[in-house]
């Protein structure tokens, strides 16, 4: 994994701060969606961004996955100052982010296994190097029986699990999930969030955007509320279903 260049940003990264947004505005075209956002995410922590529909949650995840540049303010993600980063550096940072989209995009004709292995293939690994890990990951998200099925044959919930497996495949530093429980039963949704939260144990930072604020008791996490593009100060929660979590 490439290390960022020595700088203030690198220093932040080495102190475990994966993301720091300071007074960031962002939006599309003429409309500004996020205003004056201050945010910090650290390795080994889970952050839940919750708020009503159209509050800016998806835009927030786009900002964190470097698909949307900040209009103003400072955005340092995995040691890179986004406003100053070159295309190659942005690509390097993206490789260290696992992203689960609200509607994940796959190569539909490829099998679940091949789609999950895609980040590792892009890193230049050979099938014999990644085969066991990918198989284990596919089993971990509960898709062991569908590993060889083309993704186009999977249900909505299975696609989301496949997206989670793909996001975790390259052992990212930061995991982003945009509404990962949409369209799922509450029990399935909680299982998915628990699965993502597990990644904090290996030092990854997890950021989950969801309308469902009841997810905050799935694991110990920081809960940030967003409304009309403004992010409030976070509250720390403990896992209510700690038994299941442990």
């Amino acid at each position: 994994m490439a290390r960022p260049r020595a700088s203030i940003e690198t220093d932040l990264f080495e102190r475990g701060v994966l993301v720091r947004l300071s007074n960031v505005d962002a939006g599309y075209g003429a409309s500004t969606v996020l205003m004056g956002v201050d945010f910090e995410a650290r390795g080994g922590e889970v952050n839940l961004i919750t708020g009503p529909a159209a509050a800016g949650k998806t835009t927030f995840t786009h900002l964190l996955r470097l698909a949307l540049p900040p209009r103003s303010g400072r955005s340092v993600i995995l040691g890179a100052d986004v406003a100053r980063a070159r295309a190659r550096e942005v690509a390097e940072v993206k490789r260290r982010i696992g992203y689960v989209a609200e509607n994940p995009v796959f190569i539909e004709q490829w099998s679940t296994f091949d789609n999950v292995a895609m980040p590792l293939r892009m890193l230049g690994q050979k099938p014999r190097e990644y085969s066991d890990d990918v198989r284990e990951l596919v089993d971990f998200v509960g898709l062991g029986g569908a590993a060889e099925l083309p993704v186009e044959k999977l249900s909505g919930a299975e696609r989301r699990r496949a997206a989670i497996a793909r996001a975790l495949a390259a052992k990212p530093n930061l995991i982003l999930a945009d509404d990962p429980t949409a369209g799922m039963s509450p029990a399935d949704g909680r299982r998915i969030v628990r699965l993502l939260s597990e990644m904090r144990r290996v030092g990854a930072g997890v950021v989950i955007a969801s309308q469902d604020d009841t997810l905050s008791d799935v694991a110990p996490m920081w809960v940030w509320r967003i409304d009309r593009g403004r992010l409030s100060a976070p509250e720390q929660t403990e896992a209510a279903d700690a038994e299941a979590y442990e």
């Binding site: 962002a26 599309y28 698909a67 295309a87 690509a91 993206k94 796959f106």
Partner: protein, 286 residues
């Protein structure tokens, strides 16, 4: 190519094969025109007429013929008979000329060996005739009329025409390959989200298009070669495949060899440009 080509890939393959066939066929046609024009020019430059001015009478013609046997550039010389002159005049005027009405022209037809462009053929022949005691003038094929200068113009037209046509086919291949990139848009999006650079993403799609282009170009080139052989056998009655192998020069095969390479490059470039564009769209929202 595993499992054969389906859908857009198959359509792309045959579009590229057609473009390669058309471009290679145009190239082969241009080569054929070029060779005919070169042959025509060589034949035209290999012929001259000597008009004997002195001595008068049959003795002058005989002395000139003797002198021409050892003259430089001359491979053969024969006095023009009244019958031959009447036939040439009939061909030129379109009217029947009676050999009895043709006056004594005192002309000798001369066939010439190939000479360098700097050689003064007329001067050398006149000097050789003078050394044999004959005063004469040489009438060569004119430069600017009666087909003079036509061959280079035809060769240029054929060459640039084929290049232009091949360029148009390359544009078709370029555009067709963009369809493949559009088809692979989900892969572009996935690669972009996973942190592939624009070059890596575009390169992956371009490689695929180039491989399809290579095979399609080979098929198109082979079909053009087969068509070329059929046309030659129809155009030259009695020609055998053995005779064709000696007739065809290595340079004649350039369009066939260039077809796969050109198609691969054009298809790869088209797919690369489109995939790069889609990557840019996926990489930056807002």
């Amino acid at each position: 190519m595993r499992g054969g080509l389906l859908g857009i890939e198959r359509a792309l393959f045959w579009t590229l094969a057609f473009a390669a066939f058309a471009a290679a066929a145009a190239g082969l046609a241009a080569r054929a025109v070029d060779r005919v024009a070169v042959g025509y020019e060589q034949e035209r430059n290999a012929y001259a007429i000597v008009r004997v001015l002195a001595p008068d009478g049959p003795a002058g013609i005989a002395a000139a013929q003797t002198a021409l046997t050892s003259a430089p550039h001359v491979t053969s010389a024969a006095p023009m008979t009244a019958g031959r002159a009447a036939a040439l005049l009939s061909e030129a005027s379109g009217e029947q000329i009676d050999p009895a009405n043709v006056p004594d022209l005192r002309l000798i037809e001369v066939e010439l060996a190939a000479a360098s462009p700097q050689a003064d053929i007329s001067g050398d022949i006149v000097a050789a005739l003078a050394a044999g005691g004959v005063t004469a003038e040489v009438i060569e094929a004119p430069d600017t009329s009666s087909g003079g200068g036509l061959a280079p113009r035809v060769r240029n037209f054929a060459f640039w025409g084929a290049i232009l046509f091949a360029g148009m086919m390359a544009v078709i291949a370029w555009l067709a390959a963009r369809g493949l990139a559009a088809r692979r848009r989900e892969m572009v999006t996935v690669m972009c989200d996973l942190g592939a650079t624009r070059g890596q993403t575009a390169g992956r799609i371009a490689d695929e298009a180039a491989v399809i282009g290579l095979y399609a170009g080979a098929v198109g080139g082979a079909l053009a070669a087969v068509a070329g052989v059929i046309v030659l056998m129809l155009a030259i009655p009695g020609t055998t495949l053995n005779a064709l192998t000696t007739m065809i020069l290595p340079i004649d095969l350039v369009p066939i060899v260039a077809a796969p390479l050109g198609t691969a490059i054009a298809a790869g470039a088209g797919a690369r440009a489109a995939a790069g564009h889609f990557h840019a769209l996926a990489a930056k929202l807002g």
